[in-house]
């Protein structure tokens, strides 16, 4: 599945995608106006490895050029479930409510993900799948990629929206060169 197809699927199905769209309100239209869009791996200018610990990233900031496509290799080296999500602070805040629901429904359990629960049909075609193209949700030891094409300058962070983690400081800054 290529990235843009995944994006559409995400928009249509997942509850977290709703937050993703809702978070775009500060940008006028769509997420692209503020944070960028899913990129193609073939267009990535470089690979950045981001390690996730309990509860912080290494590195805690990265520099990108406007319009640059970056391939992120995200590794969870902690003992808890963590997320790597690219967006504006408002997008993260909106997404956090959905992540809270995932905890309340037992989808995220400390160091484990309940995959059955994630795929369960919540009605109206919604599920608690976490499949937005701007983010990955990883169990300890897992590694996944996010390919992201950054747009213009903006207030963009990569963040972990597992409840409490962002608030405790699990975020990194994206600086535009």
């Amino acid at each position: 599945m290529n990235a843009s197809k995944l994006f559409v699927a995400g928009m249509a199905l997942s509850m977290s995608a709703t937050a993703f769209a809702a978070g775009a309100h500060d940008g006028g239209h769509g997420h692209g106006a503020t944070s960028g869009e899913p990129g193609k791996a073939s267009e990535a200018s470089r690979t950045v490895t981001v390690e996730m610990y309990d509860n912080y990233y290494e590195p805690e900031e990265i520099s990108v050029k406007p319009g640059e496509t970056v391939r992120f290799v995200v590794e969870n080296k902690g003992n808890l479930v963590h997320e790597f999500s690219v967006g504006t602070p408002d997008m993260h805040e909106a997404h956090q409510e959905k992540m809270m629901m995932m905890v309340e429904h037992g989808v995220i359990q400390g160091g484990k993900l309940n995959h059955d629960m994630m795929n369960m049909d919540m009605g109206n075609g919604h599920s608690m799948k976490h499949d937005d193209p701007n983010s990955v949700l990883l169990e300890p030891g897992q590694s996944k990629e996010v390919v992201w094409k950054f747009s213009d300058k903006g207030n963009i962070e990569f963040a972990c929206n597992v409840p409490g983690h962002y608030q405790a400081g699990m975020y990194g800054e994206v600086n535009f060169e």
């Binding site: 509860n55 983690h165 405790a168 400081g169």
Partner: protein, 585 residues
């Protein structure tokens, strides 16, 4: 965060050197001004509270404590893991520090986080002998902040600790202003029905307690960092910054419900240990507990830190502001919590059933209109003799709902069902529960406990005696534990007061049902009518104090000595070295 880089640099320059810090503390008579009253008290380095002691994990500290009082003193490093003879409890760890003497404490710092220190002699701690401890970790924190403040609370009373204890012994409700009135009886009766009301009062009479005994010490001024509500301690910030607030409850007797209207608080530590971050609107801090929270005020405005006492008889207040002098609205105290029947659920001597068996024949109780005709004297004549034959199963049929009158729908597994103490957030949001506390990085492997020890928390309010398993400290044998075992303690609170139980020297692994993620603490609240479990890895040889941290309960006898038998280098407790002047709170 800057000091970390500095120490990082230092450790690069001196890789082989163990950090060692030398500190001096004097114990002094001081003046304490709360804004409401001025009193004589005890402090450190000329002030109460004393200084914030800042240590670094991995350093060896030497602390020279000079006693300028005319009585024996001591300092207990609350929550620190250290050799037992450095723990500062006269009669258990050492003989105490005599007037004019200097005692040098020396121990390695093996942990990080927010703690505190206080005198363990007489009532010096309620009289002002306390301060904060901040330990910087060797590695990075699992969270981030731009600045930090200690927020240390206390319940400063105009009376000295000795006088308060005398008064409580003489008249246990001496400081209880919330006693129910005759008028309240009739208003309860009209709301809840006369029968329920009489039944309720009878039960409380049996308990030798007043329903309003949420706090047995009222009339205090809440202080934050030594400042009363009008003196308004203020911490500055730049909008957008993350601020770490290190809350420490150094009160003698008072639990506080803490909120900062307009700000979420993300709890990152409890009792100095990292917990998986949880964002809340409000939390309750028991006596001797600490909670570290991160807040992020984004607006150029002042925010009030509001700490209401659990019984709503007083409050502490401070401010976070972009500049000195700014302040925000100070909320009103909410209505006082009232204990319910559920809060005495743990009392074995209490006979709910007898209420059903009461002979009401000659009391015209069913007519709530005709109260004047009620013959109170006949209540004396009630036949209690059949209490033994009472059928407990009747209790099931009792309508707890009509008595509980709990506000809000929030429940908390650490309170009795229907308890009047269940906290709710002022803004209707999230109130922290013990059930939310999960270790960030568990210190111990989870394993089966080797045995269970039941500790019933007991007392008689009428005589102001407080005890464990019905036996007060001076009459009790020590609790003997074996080095290397893992003991499961079962606290059964048979009183109607909340007891913050503090085991010295070893961690208390609080059972919140999270298995390996159960958090470690140094002080465990046990609410009325509840049973709480904690486990302890017995990994510290010597002998230790174990007690309720309410000053006047500890002094009244809710206190034990714990002796650890065996150990790596058989560091047995040398009891004969230590003066037999008993444990002091």
């Amino acid at each position: 965060m800057k000091p970390r880089f500095l120490t990082g640099l230092l450790s690069l320059l001196m890789p082989a050197m163990v950090l060692a810090g030398e500190y001096d503390l004097t114990v002094d008579r001081v003046k304490i001004d709360t804004g409401d009253f001025v009193k004589e008290g005890i402090g450190y380095n000329g002030a109460s509270p004393g200084p914030v002691m800042r240590f670094k994990e991995g350093e060896n500290v030497r602390i020279n404590v000079t006693n300028n009082l005319d009585e024996i003193t001591s300092i207990h490093w609350h929550g620190l893991i250290l050799p037992f003879n450095q723990d500062g409890v006269p009669g258990i760890s050492f003989p105490g520090i005599k007037p004019g003497e200097t005692f040098t404490y020396e121990f390695p710092i093996q942990q990080a986080g927010t703690y505190w220190f206080h005198s363990h002699s007489g009532f010096q701690e309620p009289d002002g002998a306390y301060g904060a401890i901040v330990i910087e970790p060797e590695k990075r924190e699992p969270f981030r902040y731009d600045r930090e403040y200690v927020v240390q609370l206390t319940d400063k009373h105009p009376h000295s600790g000795d006088r308060i204890m005398r008064n409580l012994k003489m008249m246990p409700d001496y400081y209880n202003r919330e006693q129910q009135t005759v008028g309240e009886f009739f208003s309860d009766a009209s709301e809840n029905g006369l029968m329920n009301t009489v039944r309720d009062r009878m039960a409380w009479g049996d308990m030798r307690m007043m329903k309003a005994d949420v706090e047995d010490l009222q009339g205090f001024t809440g202080l934050i960092n030594g400042k009363g509500p009008d003196q308004n301690w203020t911490g500055l910030f730049e909008p957008g910054e993350r601020i770490r607030l290190r809350f420490i409850n150094s009160s003698a007797m008072t639990y506080f419900d803490i909120r900062i209207p307009g700000l979420d608080m993300t709890v990152v530590q409890a009792d100095g240990n990292n917990v998986q971050p949880v964002s809340v609107d409000e939390f309750r801090i028991g006596v001797a507990e600490t909670y570290d929270v991160i807040v992020r005020p984004k607006d150029e405005q002042a925010y009030t830190i509001f700490a209401e006492s659990m019984g709503r008889s007083g409050y502490a207040r401070a401010t976070l502001a972009p500049e000195e002098g700014m302040e925000a609205a100070v909320p009103q105290l909410r209505e006082a919590a009232r204990l319910t029947m559920a809060d005495m659920g743990g009392m074995p001597g209490m006979d709910h059933g007898s209420m059903a068996g009461m002979d009401h024949g000659n009391m015209d109780m069913d007519s709530s209109e005709d109260m004047s005709g009620m013959d109170h004297s006949s209540m004396e004549g009630m036949d209690h003799s059949n209490m033994d034959s009472m059928d407990h199963s009747n209790m099931e049929g009792m309508d707890h709902g009509s008595m509980a009158m709990g506000k809000g729908g929030q429940s908390d597994p650490f309170y009795a069902k229907g308890s009047g103490l269940v906290p709710t957030a002022a803004n209707g949001g999230k109130f922290l529960s013990y059930a939310d506390l999960k270790a960030q990085d568990p210190l111990y492997e989870d394993r089966e406990p080797t045995r269970e020890i039941e500790l019933r928390l007991t007392g008689n309010m009428e005589r102001y005696t407080w005890s464990i398993n019905g036996v007060k400290y001076e009459d009790a044998d020590p609790i003997r534990l074996k080095y290397g075992e893992r003991v499961r303690f079962k606290f059964v609170n048979e009183t109607m007061m909340t007891h913050p139980m503090h085991l010295h020297g070893m961690w208390s692994i609080l059972d919140v049902g999270a298995g390996q993620w159960n958090p470690i603490k140094h002080t465990i609240n046990v609410n009325p009518g509840t049973t709480v479990y904690m486990e302890t890895e017995v990994d510290a040889p010597g002998q230790w104090a174990f007690h309720c941290h309410l000053s006047y309960h500890a002094a009244a006898g809710m206190f034990r000595k714990v002796i650890i038998e065996g150990g790596p280098d058989s560091t047995q407790a040398k009891t004969d070295v230590i003066a037999e002047d008993g444990g002091e709170a």
